[in-house]
Amino acid sequence: MTIGLAGLTAAEIRRRVAVREVSCVDVLRAHLDRIAAVEPRVDAFLFLAADRALDRARRLDSALAGGGPAPSLAGVPVAIKDVLHVEGLPTTCGSRILDGYRPPFAATAVERLEAQGAIVVGKTNMDEFAMGSSTERSAYKPTRNPWDRERVPGGSSGGSAVAVASRMVPLALGTDTGGSIRQPAAFCGLVGLKPTWGRVSRYGLVAFASSLDQVGPLARTVEDVALASSALFGEDPLDATSSGEPVPDFARSLEGHAAGLRVGVPWSFLAEGVDGETMARFRESLAALEAAGASVADVALPHLPHAIATYYLVATAEASSNLARYDGVRYGLRAPGIHDLRRLYGETRDLGFGAEVKRRIILGTFALSSGYYDAYYLRAQKVRTLIRRDFDRAFSACDVIATPTAPTPAFRLGEKMDDPLQMYLADIFTVPANLAGLPGLSLPCGLANGLPVGLQLLARPFDEETLLRAGAAHQKATRHHELEPPL
């Protein structure tokens, strides 16, 4: 099947639009055709917005016809995880409790992409309130992995990953609280970046765990991730925790060599639990980086074995507080026919939340409750400091830290649904970056028994430039990003 314009990268689309070789409407129509052909087989989207997209594409074409330069994402179709508000579209967060909700404002991250000429085609499926690692926890439907439709795409940004991997869009936004951009990127053969906490405004992002949540791009190439990062990064007066750290020119990071790059690998942490084929691809990726000029050495991160426990106490505690706002009073679902306020809260939340969200509210409320606060929540916050110190020490001897993104390739639909602890353990390599506030990049590193696996690189806070430089060198040396799913 030839998919024409729908197979292009964001950078290539922008280049062709800029020289007026194609119109934004032509580009959009090719992608809408591709969506019509493929979406029924993978279920990546919760809502499509074809009319809104066509309207914006036409307006951009008119503006370009009047002369003037094309902005950096001119005509690039993008998909947005349904946890970020888009003007004029619903936001559900994959939850029944927000069924029919229309946000009265837009997310800064989305507005920044649109300001650069990106065209939003729809909102993508996700685990309810981003709580999950498989997208099976969506209250609406599971999303399927285009590499094997009996397997999960990863999560919670599974819809965004599948939209990009299936060539329905070249670029999508996800969010990453414990790996929700990087792990689906790995499971679907993509490049996914979780920026440093504070790099991208969280205004208009529905909160899960505020000290961990971060918005970031998924794409098929490092170049496209760099292009999106340039648009997304930067301070926002509407998010007091967004950082004023200067945003470098990422185009300069993409020369494709890794001369002098020091790569640290926490070998003792990888000693058990990693699938054999995944480990083989990981070692090949390290060799590719070495061939591009990098050196590889062992690093110690002694507290990483405690990261999952720390994460699931901190994240659920914050979630239990953030999700208190769904009370059936100001917006969202309200349980019908109840005349007692306390029961109204309880029944609305019982009706509106799925099992995983309830489980996490219970765990988080427990960790914060009188008598258990010191032993669980406060202790987890202290261990969080120890994990951060491990990284600070490690980065005195290396520039990036490499691990597999996930210990296995994509698992089967249903495989971990009845065992929440097993599902949580799948996040073992991704949660440390969120706890420490570091940027993390997942890169395609080939196939394990026919399924994509990812190489994860972590860097010092605000050093996305080094991640992208290393990523570009890896991509040039391997070409794994050119593999296409057998859809």
């Binding site: 000290s211 109840i338 602890l421």
Partner: protein
Amino acid sequence: MARVTVETVEHVARLARLSLTEDEKRLFARQLEEILAWAESLQALDTSGVPPMSHPQGARVLREDEPRDGLPRETAFAQAPEAGDGLFRVPRVIG
């Protein structure tokens, strides 16, 4: 380590304003105990003198206290399950 009973889950669910079925209470009690048993490893770490970390460093959490426009009232009420007379309506709370 913490023993998690159905009563523990009921207490926590009350705090969280969450109604649960009997099946959910039993299931969550078992799963919570399993998750907390797994998290027991944190108790063995020496955290004396270690400050708690609430968020990554570098956040500029204070800003000038300058008034600015919020959502217009009609926009805010437009999403409410029940509103009227410029108020959100809830069941009677005072007898």
